[in-house]
């Protein structure tokens, strides 16, 4: 974390606080940084709705996202490897995926509720849809981008199809798989708030928390909640990047 990373955000916050203190920006439209910090304190101690504290909202949301994301990764990576490996499979399944992919996850919400009811299953499904396609497409591209000469080299070492799949395609596709996983978790986390609009039975979730803050007209808490979501998203991305650099030492 270098000093330059903090310079611009700090400047923005100072100017913002200045405008708010001078009432140039009305507080109900955009709370000042100080008010947001106080709102954050309320989220931690009092909770929104009162009694539901921030750390629980975070835990439930993280659980939902990782559930949907894990299923997406477990399905997309093997499927992507197979589709990259077999041109026949790729050709036959491609059109199906290309039709489904552009449908925004949020458009699935009514159907998700019909199929999975209100609660974690439909939320996880929405997040699954957001994460699945980036992981799938990047995995396929990872396999297709492996230099053919490496496959030939393996053949000259008498590799059978199974060996080529496990010893060449899979390790060769790993960098692209990681890219897909990072994009996938990014989209999955972003879809979270909307996914929680399908209904949150347990009463906990960051999206639900923001929606409630809106209901009780607390824009300071809304913004504090948004920042929490943003910071968590950042931390998740940093975590994946670190895992990536530890795993892929060869690039």
């Amino acid at each position: 974390m270098k000093k330059e990373h903090f310079l611009l955000p700090l400047l923005v916050i100072l100017i913002w606080q200045g405008f708010s203190s001078l009432q140039v920006i009305p507080s109900y439209k955009l709370p000042s940084p100080l008010e947001i910090i106080l709102g954050f304190k309320d989220l931690l101690i009092i909770g929104v709705p009162p009694g539901n504290l921030l750390h629980n909202h975070m835990l439930y949301s993280l659980y939902r996202v990782f559930l949907g994301y894990a299923i997406a990764a477990l399905l997309a990576i093997p499927l992507g490897l197979l589709m990259g490996w077999s041109p026949v499979l790729l050709r036959t399944t491609r059109s199906l995926f290309e039709v489904v992919r552009p449908i925004p996850p949020l458009a699935w919400i009514p159907i998700a509720i019909l199929w999975f009811g209100i609660g974690i299953k439909s939320a996880a499904f929405i997040i699954f849809l957001g994460a699945f396609f980036p992981i799938l497409l990047n995995t396929i591209s990872g396999v297709l981008s492996i230099q053919p000469i490496l496959v030939e080299a393996a053949r000259t070492l008498h590799a059978k199809e199974k060996d080529i799949f496990l010893k060449v395609l899979l390790p060769g596709a790993v960098p692209s798989i990681f890219v897909g996983m990072r994009i996938g978790i990014g989209i999955g986390w972003m879809t979270l708030v909307a996914a929680e609009f399908t209904g949150v039975k347990e009463g906990y979730g960051l999206g639900y928390m923001i929606m409630t803050a809106r209901d009780i007209q607390r824009p300071d808490e809304i913004l504090a909640g948004m920042l929490v979501i943003g910071v968590i998203g950042l931390l998740i991305d940093i975590g994946l990047r670190t895992a990536e650099s530890k795993t892929i030492k060869w690039q």
Partner: protein, 316 residues
């Protein structure tokens, strides 16, 4: 000189007529039979007859959303629940005042017909939905629980928009819902649910929807506001005197069948008279729930409620 004066006068004229001709931006809640006076006034042209042009700037799924539109400066007048309006004003996101009552009562708690829950205490551990936090229904529901010696945190209270509630009840996703009419009536007429308690059972004569106006609009166009309230009172009168006509308007604006609308309207009491005492109770209740913090209840209510508008009209 003439070259400057003439265009200037023309612009001034355009500006003045435009300002005068600016329609009043109004909003109401989707399929909420409480807001029937608004629909009647629109259908029968009462606003035009009072010389006021109106434009429907928004139809919302619940009160808090409508209040957000006020906060954004997108509305001049709104038909909305008094609880979300109170919350918004107390939390200083919207600057509105209440000019008239729209209705009292008119909500109900609905459970599955022949279901497991047949009384309020049986809701412990079950899932119940409200249209939003800090709505009138949210407050009513919690009051109902307390009245029957049940703690609200023993019930899983969820938020769902009223159009989704009947379907969720039918498929057993939820065990109970509370919503404004005609949703409870519709649940009954379609055989999905039965009414566990009406809002009358929970809190007799409780104020529900009100006519709220943006303070800036009120300051700039006082006469228009008065004309608006006059139209509103006329509409309420029509509903009371010509039931059948009113039902037809209700069917048109809710899109529901006549039987449901008729049943719904039996549970609603339309009146333009404000209940200041009722409002005080809301303020205290919302404060207890920690949704708002109000230092002086009397001062707040005096600023928020303007019963003089309706009193002036009824006197005549």
């Amino acid at each position: 000189m003439k070259k400057i004066i003439l265009p200037f006068l023309v612009s001034l004229l355009i500006f003045v007529t435009a300002a005068h001709g600016q329609p009043v931006r109004i909003a109401y809640l989707q399929s909420d039979i409480h807001q029937l006076p608004c629909w009647v006034a629109l259908e029968k042209g009462f606003f035009e007859k009072e010389g006021v042009k109106v434009e429907v700037a928004g139809i919302f799924k619940a009160g808090p959303e409508l209040m957000s539109a006020f906060a954004a400066g997108a509305l001049d007048v709104g038909y909305v629940g008094v609880a979300p309006a109170t919350t918004a004003v107390a939390n200083k996101t919207a600057k509105v005042v209440v000019l008239a009552q729209v209705n009292t009562e008119g909500s109900a708690i609905v459970v599955k017909k022949d279901g497991k829950v047949q009384s309020i205490p049986e809701l412990v551990g079950k899932v119940a939905v409200v249209p939003g936090h800090a709505t009138v229904q949210d407050s009513l529901f919690r009051k109902a629980l307390l009245k029957f010696k049940t703690q609200p945190d023993q019930v899983k209270i969820m938020v769902l928009k009223p159009p989704e509630m009947i379907g969720a009840l039918r498929t057993d996703q939820i065990d109970a819902f509370i919503a404004w009419e005609p949703y409870p009536a519709k649940a009954v007429t379609t055989g999905v649910g039965r009414v566990l308690a009406t809002s009358r059972d929970i809190w007799k004569d409780h104020p529900c929807c009100v006519l709220a106006a943006d303070e800036r609009f009120l300051g700039a166009h006082l006469e228009k506001a008065k004309a608006f309230v006059r139209s509103h009172v006329k509409a309420v009168d029509l509903i009371c005197q010509h039931r059948e006509e009113a039902i037809k308007v209700g069917v048109k604006y809710t899109g529901m069948d006549e039987a449901s609308v008729r049943l719904a309207m039996e549970n609603v009491n339309y009146t333009p008279i404000l209940s200041v005492e009722g409002e005080k109770e809301y303020v205290e209740f919302l404060t207890k729930l920690k949704y708002i913090k109000v230092e002086d209840v009397q001062i707040f209510v005096d600023r928020f409620m303007r019963p003089e508008f309706v009193k002036e009209i009824i006197k005549r």
